[in-house]
Amino acid sequence: MTTMRRDPLVDDYLRRLKAAAAGLPRERRAELVGEIEEHVDAALREAGTEDETAVRNVLERLGSPEEIAAAARPPSIVPERGWLETAALIVLAVSFLLPVAGYLIGAGLVPASKAWDGREKTIGLLIPPIVVLAGALVVVAAAASAGGSTNVGEEPSADGGLGPLELAVAVLSGFMASAYLASRLRRPTAG
């Protein structure tokens, strides 16, 4: 809208604001950035100068972009356990009952929750595959060291049943994911 040549400090400030407000709905973010932009223009017009000191003053009075973005976020994104989180935790904890499908259902529920952030969701959902992979390596290693004996590394898919080791891995994988995600709920509301 404005055709003023911009001080690079202002550009940099607005860029930081856009980045900090990345979590807002797009329309809301554009509006916020527009308002701050307008404020800067008005403040500089009022100051009657656009030298660096004036620009720095205006930006300092605005506060940090991160602070502004934080004020624009809805106040209560407190991680709380609702029915969705409870269902996801239970499904994951007992996912060994339905070996692959159980995990997939859990993996479908977890992303829908707002109580975990993206990183927690990723870690939680990566735990079962990693544990299963580690378990598979143990099984393979055990089979190799047993010199091809079929007792230890029995193929689970042969008759659809799970050997004791596979069962332990399956139980552990889901349980660990569930325990991790449960531990991330109801943390103190610092951020």
Binding site: L32, E35, I36, E38, G63, S64, E67
Partner: protein, 116 residues
């Protein structure tokens, strides 16, 4: 920053915005500057804009655009009936609150038979 003051500020700021709009419509920058002029009320001017958005969402204010003599069109804020009612109710509460706290601070909560 003093926590007690910052909590007070947060609770009171939106009503100060409504109060500024009681007599006349104002645009964002004008509101921010008027609030900043009150000592201790605003620490970061930029955080007032999200507050204005919230007041609009709560239908306590409405906005409209208006041409300005200098520069681009401005977004003006106007008090709604609901906003006026919220302001009136807060003004009453505030007067009681202020008087009560003042009495405590000055008389130390002594029975005000003779004070008042």
């Amino acid at each position: 920053m003093e926590p007690a003051l910052s909590q007070l500020r947060r609770g009171v700021l939106e009503y100060c915005v409504l109060a500024l709009l009681r007599q006349q419509e104002r645009y964002g920058f004008e509101l921010v500057r008027s609030l900043s002029a009150v000592d201790g009320l605003v620490t970061s001017e930029g955080t007032i804009y999200p507050l204005l958005t919230r007041l609009r969402k709560e239908a306590l204010v409405t906005t409209f655009w208006q041409e300005s003599a200098s520069g681009p069109p401005r977004r003006y804020y106007r008090l709604t009936d609901a906003g006026g009612a919220a302001l009136a109710s807060f003004s009453e509460d505030w007067a009681r609150f202020r008087d009560g706290v003042d009495a405590l601070l000055t008389h130390g909560g002594r029975d005000d038979h003779d004070a008042a």
